[in-house]
């Protein structure tokens, strides 16, 4: 029997497990293959929904489904996260002390926001990367009486469109409340343009200039002085704020660090095969890789589809058949009722189009369709 162990039950792990279960249905039914998922939780969160929670447009209950209900019946699922990776002996050991042997291991434990890495940021800034934080951000927006809203983005971060989306959506939020004359938006970004994708940055700059949104580039927060309501940057500037919004820096998960699988919790990964560097039978998906690509559900989705095909042919034929080509597709909310998108891969940059209401509606539809996507039906 070939044993495939998937560590992590987020977007990448769930799509992969379902993809494999369909491709290897015959082998699963005849006990020639076992697919085991080890996760830290029995709930699956639709993380992009947190952005909408911060504007009161999605509720907490819209974000969650039971993880087991998303998985094909042949998949063995345990809420028992891995504690120790013994790659030399092809085994992992869980927190409950259970040892799982594998022929193929897939690590997709994800990332976590780490605002604590910038002094003062966790205490004084609002963000949208946990349910509690998104709800707190909504309360802060509701209570805001006017002044400067500063947007500060850490490195690395998950979902690279969020800095722009938050800014556009806050603009429309205050516009709807007839407060635009009382609010100044001050967007900062770590590199020398408004977005890492050059074409998206150029588009955003035109939009910001049109909307009167101010910006500063080459701004990396060093510390936040809550008493003075100031952010000091690594580059030497000082930014005053009345309301501080952050896209916090992220780390990989602590289990990756504790097992010394990669600096920062990011595992060195081959960009084409998704194999952990130096291994043949260990693969990495999504945020957990160190591949220089967007940390986003879309990335994990396309990687998982490639890996599903490759793992199934490895099981059947002993060979992989496809390379991951860096495909990513990201929606970009450009306010409360307009959106565009960026589609790109390792060799082709995106060419974002003007935002439309139809793309915004499609994003809202995707917020529901996600549950079919993660089941591997889309």
């Amino acid at each position: 029997m070939k044993k495939i162990v998937i560590v992590g039950g987020g977007t990448g792990g769930t799509i992969l497990a379902n993809n494999l279960a369909r491709r290897l249905a015959t082998e699963l039914a005849s006990n020639q293959v076992r697919i085991t998922m080890l996760s830290a939780t029995d709930k699956h969160m639709y993380q992009p929904g947190l952005l909408y929670v911060a504007f009161g447009r999605m509720a907490a209950e819209d974000l969650y489904q039971d993880q087991r209900s998303l998985l094909e019946p042949g998949i063995t699922f345990h809420v028992d996260p891995v504690k120790t990776f013994d790659l030399e002996h092809n085994r992992v050991e869980t927190q409950a002390g259970v040892s799982h042997a594998y022929d193929y291991l897939v690590i997709c434990t994800g990332s976590r926001p780490n605002p604590e890495s910038v002094p003062g940021l966790a205490e004084h800034a609002n963000h949208v990367y946990t349910l509690e934080a998104a709800q707190k951000t909504f309360a802060a927006l509701q209570q805001f009486k006017g002044g400067r809203v500063a947007i500060v983005t850490g490195v690395p971060h998950k979902c690279p469109m969020v800095p722009l989306e938050l800014t556009f959506m806050m603009h429309d939020y205050f516009k709807d409340r007839a407060m635009l004359d009382q609010v100044e938006f001050y967007y900062t970004y770590p590199i020398g343009r408004l977005h890492s994708l050059e074409n998206v940055g150029k588009w955003a700059q035109r939009e910001f200039d049109k909307l009167g949104i101010n910006y500063e580039t080459l701004f990396n927060a060093k510390e936040v002085d809550g008493a003075k309501q100031q952010v000091h940057s690594e580059e030497g500037s000082v930014l005053d704020y009345d309301l501080l919004i952050t896209v916090p820096p992220h780390n990989g998960m602590s289990v990756i660090l504790e097992n010394e699988l990669g600096a920062g919790g990011w595992i060195p990964t081959d960009p084409a095969t998704l194999q952990m560097q130096g291994t043949e039978n260990v693969f990495v998906l999504g945020d957990t890789t160190n591949i220089p690509i967007s940390k986003a559900g879309s990335t994990a989705h396309y990687e998982a589809e490639t890996l599903g095909e490759n793992l199934s042919t490895l099981v059947r034929q002993g060979t992989m058949v496809r390379a991951y080509e860096g495909k990513v597709f990201c929606f970009i909310e450009a306010g409360k009722d307009r959106a565009t998108y960026a589609s790109f891969d390792y060799l082709h940059p995106p060419q974002p189009q003007s935002p439309t209401q139809m793309i915004h509606w499609f994003k809202l539809a995707y917020n529901k369709l996600y549950w079919n996507s993660v089941r591997g039906l889309l």
């Binding site: 770590p190 580059e235 820096p249 220089p292």
Partner: protein
């Protein structure tokens, strides 16, 4: 130069070479040398600009077969 100090950002549009370097700098110790590999010609300008603004040290840049190699030292 060890692999752990090499930031291979070839074919990276997002987050891109400079963002990858900023992330790597956060993990590095003062005095560490890092080498960025980039296929984005803008990096040859953007990275030295950021290095100078923050106060790190630019050790050298070269281009070979369409790949830019930019060496820096973390100074603070």
């Amino acid at each position: 130069m060890s692999d752990s100090q090499r930031v291979d950002a070839r074919n990276s549009f997002c987050p891109g070479p400079l963002m990858e370097l900023i992330a790597a700098m956060k993990l590095a110790k003062v005095g560490d040398e890092l080498e960025v590999l980039s296929t984005d010609k803008g990096s040859a300008h953007d990275i030295p600009e950021w290095i100078a603004k923050v106060g790190h040290e630019l050790l050298g840049t070269r281009e070979e077969d369409g790949v830019y190699y930019i060496q820096v030292r973390k100074s603070k």
